[in-house]
């Protein structure tokens, strides 16, 4: 026969388990929302940097833009890896980020020999492609984690 004392214990266990489950679900939902905001802000940041870089390569040399571009690239690894390290593949991130940096600063950059490129130039197409590849990596990491 089940005593009143045992039933009370069972009630407490159910309450605590229920609280734990609801708390866990809420935490997951809040983490997902935060990471969505981070992913969106990273997309905006990378798009802005890409636009700045394209403007730089389409114009006469601009030292201020060079400084801004290098500054933007300098913090990009930490900006992506620190908040998303649980969901993003580090090896892929390293590769895509390196390709992106190279596309912007490997040639026609940091040199008096800088020249204005034309729209449609292969280097600019490569820059746009590498930017998109980096953004896709970040967004896919989020979707694979939370929407599969």
């Amino acid at each position: 026969m089940i005593s009143g004392g045992s039933l009370q214990w069972v009630s407490w266990i159910v309450i605590i388990a229920g609280w734990w489950f609801v708390n866990r679900t809420n935490n997951k939902r809040e983490t997902r929302k935060e990471q969505k905001i981070i992913v969106e802000s990273l997309r905006t940041k990378i798009e802005k940097l890409t636009l700045l870089s394209i403007e730089y390569h389409l114009s006469d040399r601009n030292l201020h833009k060079e400084w801004e571009i290098k500054r933007g690239l300098k913090y990009l690894w930490a900006d992506i890896n620190i908040p998303l390290q649980q969901i993003i593949d580090k090896t892929s991130l390293t590769r895509k980020l390196t390709n992106y940096k190279k596309a912007i600063t490997y040639s026609n950059f940091d040199t008096p020999a800088h020249k204005k490129l034309e729209i449609g130039d292969n280097d600019l197409e490569g820059l746009a492609d590498s930017s998109e590849a980096l953004i896709r990596l970040i967004e896919n990491a989020y979707f694979n984690c939370y929407h599969k």
Partner: protein, 104 residues
């Protein structure tokens, strides 16, 4: 265990930029001549601290480090002698790729 640490920001420039001597005062060619060639000629392993600058263009990194391989130094030997230190892992990966691909 590396015997010495070189900080690019403190020992060379906080504003490294460009490939060649004509590109500016803190270019990749100059960094290679001032620091990296000496490292390769000596027996010691040296750590190179990459943090602290205002950022790197790929052109600087490729000329400084990839240029070593173009000068005939074996990439494996370069990687053994130079220990790269940075909080940015993508920077280390990038430089190592230039060292491996420098003479291709």
């Amino acid at each position: 265990m590396p015997n010495k640490t070189i900080s690019i920001a403190k020992d060379f420039s906080r504003y490294p930029a460009g490939r060649f001597l004509d590109d500016g005062p803190a270019n990749g060619e100059l960094f290679q001549e001032k620091f990296l060639i000496d490292i390769m000629k000596n027996n010691d392993t040296v750590s190179i601290e990459l943090d602290g600058t205002r950022g790197y263009g790929s052109s600087f990194l490729e000329e400084a480090f990839g240029g070593l391989a173009r000068k005939g130094y074996d990439p494996d030997e370069i990687l053994k002698k130079i220990n790269l230190i940075s909080s940015d892992e993508s920077l280390i990966y990038e430089i190592e790729s230039y060292i491996r691909e420098g003479n291709t």
